[in-house]
């Protein structure tokens, strides 16, 4: 059962990703992107990562993509979208970047067993015990606010700086 759902979600995620690139209309691309993000949230649910799934929908599909939508609408990128698509060197660079990221990910996955990032992962049994003890939010919140609190606060400051920067740029008289 879970396998069937996994393949459905995986297919819609990949199909959505292809749709994002192939759509001529930016709003269409955006909706495909939302579909991809929602499918990935579905895969998270299959992995019992409910919290991550909810955050994925709430932050990416619900907030970030709505801001994208705003940008697309307000810039109104011309109504014949064909002219907006870059060609030549830029196209090559885009594919090169995508390929490089894909290669890096593949390299990470290949050595998944002795990956240092996964060293702290308690394994399925350990996860179940952790969830029973601390609940689904506690299991994420505790390490976030104890072991990784410096990184967490620094990320917060980074976001604040970006926010202040955006306001400063927007306030400038053009």
């Amino acid at each position: 059962m879970a396998d069937i759902f996994f393949f459905i979600f995986a297919a819609t995620a990949i199909g959505g990703g292809i749709g994002v690139v192939l759509q001529k209309n930016p709003v269409g691309s955006l909706l495909f992107m939302v579909g991809t993000l929602a499918s990935i949230a579905g895969i998270y649910v299959l992995l019992d990562a409910h919290f991550l799934a909810a955050i994925q929908i709430m932050v990416y599909a619900g907030a970030v993509m709505v801001l994208f939508l705003f940008v697309i609408m307000l810039l109104n990128l011309g109504h014949d979208y064909r002219d907006d698509i870059k060609t030549g060197l830029l196209l090559f660079l885009a594919f090169a970047t995508a390929g490089a990221i894909g290669g890096l990910l593949a390299r990470q996955l290949r050595g998944a067993a002795d990956n240092p990032i996964l060293a702290h992962f308690p394994g399925p049994e350990g996860m179940e015990q952790l969830l029973a003890e601390q609940g689904i939010v506690g299991a994420i919140a505790r390490p976030l606010f104890t072991d990784y609190v410096v990184a967490f606060e620094l990320t917060g400051i980074l976001l604040l700086v970006a926010l202040v920067g955006a306001v400063a740029i927007a306030k400038r008289k053009v």
Binding site: I57, G62, L69, L131, G135, V137
Partner: protein
């Protein structure tokens, strides 16, 4: 979380999904009628009363009319998104209800059935996630219509919803402090155990939640996306027939879910006040009604009449908030757009942030000192009551009516505006209205 076999689980879940979905849509149909009758009552007229006794068949007549009506499609509209938008609007509205518990667990011959469609561990986060998706339907409807009024309505709805989502999320945080869990069944249980509905110890959170919920559902005084006096009817200007009524079904199911949430988060959900016989929770594989002083769970049994009584309790609380939604709609005028943004970002956001900090501090101190039970609730009630009074009479006083046209200027400039704000009302004389 329950003792059902897999087959029984699948069957009972299917029945629950079907029943909840049908009741939801039937309630939505009835709400359209109730709203019009209530509007008639408030405006001293009758409202629709011709179809069936008290007009009870009016929703059916409307439904048939809308299905038979011609579906129009503007020539310049983006066809695909134009058709997709009503579907995107209605889906979050009808599936959010899935996590709301609506009665005490029901014992059946096959095991005990939880009276909630899906008691998923992320509860409230699921609701927040889905409510953040509701904006796509309205926004796309406005954009795909290729009509400037519709587009303005879509833009307004999107900016309003993302503005108030922040305050909505922050107003739920105090509830999570007290409940210590995000599932709604746990929140109901904790309110039963504390003996306080959260509306008392978290009164300001309740007020902030209600205001944000009004904004999220696009209801008056926050119905700027529709604003018929300026934008025709906003994002659904170009829609007709069933597509048009799908936006209305979406709106009313949002109201229903928001009311059910207010009842669950702040009025104890399905629990019946001053009666401990309805305390039921799954705890380590068995139903319990509470803990002894030594911390041992007390086993309990559900009963069919308890399920019915608790469902009635839930229905009454939800209906009350639905009534408040409608009452407010026909009482208050619409905000101006800049006032909506001002309220959202400069009043609601800072107030809810400060309140969350203050309450977290209070709860931490009470926990450290070891205060529990009634005294715990009473102290929090006092603190929140003080916050509410400060919010209503100091922080928020005179802010909303004056708006941004005079904000940013000095107080001296503002004062004449204030004086003309409340002209003395002449007593109404002459023939009564509506005779």
């Amino acid at each position: 979380m329950n003792d059902l076999s897999l087959t029984a689980f699948v069957i009972t879940s299917s029945v629950k999904v079907f029943a909840v979905f049908s009741i939801l849509l039937a309630s939505v149909a009835l709400m359209t009628l109730v709203e019009r009758r209530l509007a008639g009552f408030i405006q001293d007229r009758l409202g629709p009363n011709r179809v069936g006794p008290f007009g009870i068949l009016q929703p059916a007549a409307d439904g048939i009319k809308n299905i038979l009506k011609e579906e129009t499609m503007p020539a310049t509209a983006n066809r695909f998104f134009f058709v997709l938008a009503p579907a995107l609007a209605i889906i979050p509205g009808v599936i959010t209800f899935a996590v709301v518990p609506f009665a005490a667990p029901l014992p059946t011959p096959w095991g005990t059935v939880d009276m909630v469609v899906a008691d998923i561990p992320i509860g409230i986060l699921y609701i927040l996630a889905l409510s953040s998706l509701g904006v796509y339907g309205l926004f796309l409807a406005g954009w795909a219509s290729n009509n400037k009024y519709a587009f303005l309505g879509g833009l307004r709805s999107a900016s309003q919803m993302i503005s108030y989502e922040v305050a909505l999320g922050l107003s739920i945080v105090p509830v999570l402090f007290l409940a210590g869990n995000v599932t709604l069944t746990q929140i109901v249980w904790q309110q039963q155990q504390l003996g306080f509905w959260y509306i008392l110890p978290l009164s300001l959170a309740f007020i902030l939640f209600v205001i944000s919920a009004f904004a999220e559902t696009n209801r008056l005084p926050f119905d700027l996306p529709e604003a018929e006096s300026e934008l025709v009817t906003g994002y659904h200007t170009e829609y007709s027939g069933m597509k048009f009524s799908m936006f209305f079904i979406a709106e009313y199911s949002h109201i229903l879910t928001a009311s059910a949430l207010m009842a669950t988060l702040f009025l104890g959900g399905w629990s019946i006040p001053f009666w401990s016989g309805d305390h039921l929770l799954w705890y380590e594989g068995m139903l319990i009604s509470g803990f002894t002083a030594a911390g041992e769970p007390i086993a309990a049994q559900g009963a069919w009449w308890k399920t019915i009584l608790t469902f009635l309790s839930f229905a009454v609380k939800t209906a009350f908030f639905i009534g408040v939604f409608m009452w407010v709609r026909w009482t208050l005028p619409r905000f101006r757009y800049d006032q909506v943004m001002h309220l959202g970002w400069k009043v609601m956001l800072p107030v809810s942030l400060v309140y969350v900090m203050l309450l977290a501090g209070t709860i931490l101190v009470l926990d450290q000192v070891g205060v529990e039970g009634f005294l715990f609730g009473a102290i929090l009630t006092a603190v929140s009551g003080a916050c509410t009074l400060i919010f209503v009479f100091v922080v928020d006083s005179d802010r909303l009516i004056t708006g941004s046209a005079v904000s940013g200027t000095s107080r001296e400039v503002r004062s004449p505006v204030r004086q003309v704000r409340r002209p003395a009302l002449e007593p109404r004389t002459g023939a009564g209205v509506g005779q």
